[in-house]
Amino acid sequence: MSAAAEYDEPWLSDTYRERLVGMSDGFPAPVFDEFLGPDGVRPAYAALAEQMEAMGRGGLLAARAEVARFVSDEDMTYGGTDLSQATRWLVDPLPLIIGTAEWRDLEAGLRQRAELLDAILSDLYTKRHLLQRGLIPPQLVVGHPEFVLQADGIRLKGRRQLVLAATDLVRDGSGWRVLSDRTQAPSGAGYVMGTRRIVTRTLAGLHRRTETAFLRDFFRTMASALQDAAPTSTELPRVVVFSPGTASETAYDQAFTATLLGFPLVQAEDLVMRQGRVWVTDGDGLEPVDVILRRVDSAFADPLELRSDSRLGLPGLIEASRQGHVTIVNPIGSGVLENPGLAAFLPRLAREVLDEDLALHDPQTWWCGNDADRSHVLANIDSLVLKPTHRSTRELDRFGWELSSAEREELVARIKACPWEWVGEEALSVSTSPVVTAKGLVPRRTVLRTFGVGVESGYTFMHGGLGRVAGGNHPYLVSNSTGALAKDVWVLTGATTDQAADRTPVAARAAGRPPLLSPRVAENLFWLGRYANRAENTARLIVICEDLDRDYAYLRGPAASQVLQAMLSAFSSLTGHPADLGNDPRGALHAALVGTSAGCVAASVQRLTDAAHEVRNVLSVDTWSMLSRLERTLDEARADHEFQPHSQKILESFLAWSGIMAESMVRDETYSFLDAGARIERALHTVDLMRRAFAREQALPAESRLAEAVLAACESLITYRRRVADGEYRGRPLDATLRLLLWDPSNPRSVLSQLTHLAADLRLAGDATVAAEVEKLGSAIAGAETQDPSATDVLGRLSELSGELRGWSDRLTRRHFTRHSPIRAQQPGWNTPWQVV
């Protein structure tokens, strides 16, 4: 089929072609476009083009919006050392499509490259024949910051030293070329799966009709490769994903990769070094760790041996790996392969080491440590890409043609001062692919990251990878830090596959063991429970107070005034927000909804979100769409003084939250800490609200209305009314309210009910001691009922009860959430210098 004739809709190809031809960003022309060839749409894209035509410009923009909404619902983020600065993952709805044969060739080249890099890595940390023989100049490696001398002599048990091999590739007219190798701690596999799930939902029909290789197999292979890497043959080796924490740029990727692999995500504080071994804390105990999938860069991984100021690493980690107690994947020091200077030597290395010709080519590279190469670079600096041999995030590659004369001069001086730290590379003609924008389709420079995993017999590659195109900020710098967009990559199989496989988020491996519950995870779950409940309680209180305020506008009168005043004063003491009647109660209530100080709903939601990020991979994926909705509602409420509808929506979100927690959390220790937090928070709220609201005795009509407000704030008003109607409650409304909210076992909102659940939670968490105390208090409260105490007596004892509840929270903290003491480095100074007299 000739694609050319059929897809000549002007919006689709002509304008796009004009834009392609018109590209002038300094790179060599002509540009290869992934989508559009000289004869029209390329064959692999035929079905997509047909679909695009059917969708039209509007449909494509709608798809773009839908993709953005899914990203937000899944909380896919990138970047930022601060959670509030993290940006959304950006996705273009149009996939990159790679044909079957083309992929097969690319994979063969990648396989060869991974074998070669593996051999180099293995040599560099042992015999260093390649350096001694001059196949790699020692200067290129020995002074490189990622050549970790402390890791010298360490070998993983199996044949493979480079287990994970990721590669950034671009395509020019002649085929795929390597832009850089990612061997330090390759990121992105989780983003690939996240992006796949989103794009295939948006283009569901097309994806179903297209025979695309799926990704799940890769995670399965990776999981077993990691288990096989265990230093000793254990039935079920303990593998952990070692993350630098939620402030990391790729925190989403780390957590989702861990989920896909079925291994727990841990941080430095979850690990302990003991007797030269690495252990992970689990409840009150320690479990030996066999394999660490390392997402912490080498320099930060072991503060004893490397950067002593790192708080992301474990002191002694290198020693544990040297002693063969733990396998680190990729091993410490693997980042040395990211040195772009190696490219200059790979063709010869391939012949010497593998006895093969290098299949996949790098851009032609001149290493400035070599005199002739340096002269070439300095003479041709305007047309080359200049790279330091050590990539630090702050030092982006320089494009020679972009340099001002002052910049060029500075760069030349730097190259001359330390020539071995610089390379010049030929500028490749990087291919483009179409991106959906408001102006229509726009060609953008495109990079593909592939992912390989090495096992004894060879390397296996993910069928596809992470496609990225330049963002609007820079024409050809494809980096997430400059706003690059992700593209799903479809590798055509030419055979029918089960397309549903990649859409269901199930761990690639059966866990085989209960999830780890480190003090950090337990504590975050506990506070997740508390903050969710606190935000909900506060939101409800705001709704009630606002109702009362509105009523008061109509009713006036002393009773209405007293009720409003009592509730507002309770509100103030519970939330810490002054909201007195004389001033502007509505303003204060609005502030308490959207404000950022402690006690506000928005502040609790922020703390809740922070805690959720810390325990991302034990939570249901639905959590994120609920949190994202909640954030959107708060944003709307910020802009709108009429906040009643927003606070209602917030309450609905929490209803959804309770549903998710009740329906999709396994009833294990994980759940027990989350629920314990929620129970303590609700009991505290109920007790404190009663204490404050009923602090002053009221006349009957006011008392009755106040009681109803408190009952409504505790979600027990309907029950109360039914009981009254049934004639169950006689006497003053206050007595009945206290009874219903404190010790009515059939009211699921009563304090007694919270204690019953709390005790069960604590037993599930293995804390029989505190559970017994909670049960004892529960019986005491239940027993008090038989003595028919007066309301004054009961109210008098509430502050004691509140203290008791707070005490448990502190005790749980001490008993279960104990962290390490702070870590400090001792770097000796010039302590014993001597001059011989």
Binding site: G134, V142, G153, L304, V837
Partner: protein, 311 residues
Amino acid sequence: MSAEHDTPRTYLVRHRTVYTYDGTVDAAYERGFLRHRDTDYQTVLEHRIVVEPEPDALSEHVDFFGNHSYYVEVLTDHSVLEVSEFANIRVERTPVDLGSLNRWTVASAAAEIAESSELDAVERTAFLLPSDLVELAPAVSAYAEPILGPDRPLGDAVEGLIHAIYRDFRYEQGVTSVRTSLPELLDLRAGVCQDFAHLAVGCLRSVGLPARYVSGHVETSPPPGGEKLEGSDASHAWAGVLTPTGLWVDLDPTNDHLVDSRYLTTAWGRDFRDVSPLKGVIYTEAKESTLKVGVDVIRLPESDDPPPPPQ
């Protein structure tokens, strides 16, 4: 240099490091060079390490540079940590004839080393490149230039370097730290042995001669007529330079002479960072710590009997 310091001898070395904290330390992880190297001029006859409290792990490996590196783990709660090394070491250095090095000039030696296929290319490179504490800044080259001019005979140049640093720099404790860079040192014109060793290494590297930082101990003499005080000997640092034959020449610019048989080599590396005697990471609420190091280098009487075991 008198021949009395070149005679073969045996030393007993005691090196004690004591950390004292103002609170409890829950766990301490340490890495240190707690054993002297065996070299062609020095043999460790006996060796013992004592860690107090009893360590939970103590292991040793030979590092990239061939040094004995120790990992120590103490998980017992403690407020004092003591790490001691005891060793009997036999030393017999052959005096270096600087005059014989004069058959090369600085430039010809550098060129011969660079092209040699006999020398270890990795080692040669490691000791030629700048390192964290040996920045090859223009100021360093400028200082080295008149001393290590390309046409100067190698032996004279090395001797000139020792004298120049001794002459130009005041020995003064407390003016420099582990973070002082060579340009800063060149401004200060004062420092301690570690600084002078770094500067010598930097000057040699800047003219293309591979040079290393050596850490160890030196026997000191009691003040005239006085008793030698316990713990009064010292950790010391000096520089080593590679010559075209593969011979390393050790020089002590702090004391204005070549290294002789009073010097005991613990470890060498590119600079202090590679061979820091003992460094650690601790878990503690304590805010303050004090560090005390006591060193004794005791020359044992020569006899036909085997030397007494270290205690």
